[in-house]
């Protein structure tokens, strides 16, 4: 297994202009852009320990520095995010070199995502874990009225920090529906149900890569990830699509499709 430091140095020597990964700053892990193979910062790079929205950072970097190429250390979720962002024309994969990091068995278990490793692994060993469906199952076991009460109670704690959106690697719109006063009354907490949270869930459909950063950022511990996960299950079941998996296939919600598809959909209803 190679060392992250060597990988960063190697990529920089291979011609990428900068490497985005984590570094340890006074005991705190945070994203860092390494531009020099001889930089003393190289001694501080770390592979694991914390997760940040690398996709989001790359959207800005690629836009700000149009001629530059970047390497980035990616977990399975980061890779899915970049793949999906490329389909949404937010990142140019030709200017990106992904260096894969597999989540540890412990991380994979705690996280419960469906694929806790990237397509090519440069660091770490592939570990599988059962998908985290406990909350979804808990909700599905409830009656309709109980389910509504359950969700309303979860959302009642919301203080509209927008952290779920702000940290989400898949949220990049300049005009956000959550800020549209016709859809969500501004200046009020908790935001009214269902508008704020259901609008966000719908926007995540066919787009969410199940990184879980939203839930990590939520001060109210709202089980957002389970809601968005369920939306992906619906998407897969009804429209046969999972975000971030194939670089070629686009979300069926982003194009009209064929009559056969729709007829099939209506038949299966």
């Amino acid at each position: 297994m190679s060392d992250l430091k060597d990988l960063v140095r190697e990529k920089l020597k291979d011609g990428v202009d900068a490497f985005l990964c984590l570094k340890d700053e006074e005991g705190t892990l945070l994203p860092a852009l390494i531009t020099d193979a001889d930089s003393p910062e190289l001694e501080l790079v770390e592979a694991g320990g914390a997760r940040y929205p690398m996709g989001k950072i790359l959207i800005d970097l690629l836009r700000e520095y149009p001629g530059k190429r970047f390497a980035v250390l990616v977990r399975g979720c980061d890779e899915r995010a970049l793949v999906e962002l490329s389909k949404l024309e937010q990142v140019d994969l030709d200017r990106l070199v992904m260096v894969g990091l597999a989540c540890t068995a412990e991380e994979a278990r705690a996280c419960g995502c469906t694929r806790p490793y990237p397509s090519e692994i440069a660091l770490g060993e592939k570990a599988e874990a059962a998908p985290g469906r406990e909350t979804i199952e808990e909700v599905e076991a409830l009656s309709e009225a109980e389910r509504l009460r359950w969700w309303k109670e979860q959302f009642s704690r919301c203080i509209k920090c927008y952290g779920c959106r702000n940290v989400c690697p898949m949220c990049f719109c300049k005009d956000c529906a959550l800020e549209n006063p016709h859809l969500v009354e501004p200046g009020v907490i908790p935001p009214e149900f269902p508008s704020f949270h259901v609008i966000r869930a719908l926007d995540m459909t066919g787009r969410c890569v199940d990184c879980g950063l939203c839930e990590e950022a939520c001060p109210a511990d709202i089980p957002l990830r389970s809601l968005y996960r369920k939306m992906q299950e619906i998407m897969e079941e009804k429209l046969g699509y999972r975000a971030g998996e194939s670089p070629d296939e686009k979300s069926p919600l982003s194009f009209l499709g064929s009559e056969q598809d729709i007829e099939k959909l209506e038949r299966e209803q």
């Binding site: 202009d17 900068a18 945070l30 929205p53 950072i57 800005d60 970097l61 700000e64 149009p66 001629g67």
Partner: protein, 142 residues
């Protein structure tokens, strides 16, 4: 795409949110010498990777058009731009004159709950050790 010649410059700087007294941990995103965003510090002992709406937006006022960017001195009833040396001399002269003519207790200082410990320390030191008054207070009560 064409390289725009900009030198790559992106980093995150750990800091503390400056709105309320909770003191949440933030990381300021700095690109090309401008503060462009805020991320939460994941391992912060108060906020543990969460922020409120103000914390997420704490970078937004930094490059506001309303920032004061040059020293101003009043002349002819209007505040006019001047250089630092002139402005500082005017402050020193204004405070010294009143202290000399009316005594140090005719001078007052508002310290600030928005400034750093170091700055508050220096301001009360200025009031007490240089001007000679304990008339120093800040908006703790407001």
């Amino acid at each position: 795409m064409v390289d725009n010649g900009k030198e790559l410059s992106y980093r995150l700087v750990p800091s503390t949110c400056v709105y309320c007294g909770t003191g949440c941990g933030v990381l300021l995103e700095v690109m090309d010498g401008r503060v462009t965003g805020t991320l939460p510090q994941k391992d912060h002992p108060v906020s543990w990777g969460a922020l409120c709406v103000k914390g997420w937006a704490v970078h937004e006022f930094v490059h506001s058009e309303r920032r004061l960017t040059a020293p101003l001195v009043r002349s002819g009833g209007e505040l006019k731009e001047t250089d630092w040396d002139t402005a500082l001399a005017a402050v020193a002269e204004g405070l010294s004159r009143v202290a000399k003519e009316h005594g140090p207790d005719a001078v007052g200082f508002f310290a600030s709950a928005r400034c750093t410990n170091e700055e508050n320390y220096l301001l009360q030191k200025l009031a007490r050790a240089v001007v000679g008054t304990n008339n120093v207070d800040h908006c703790a009560r407001l």
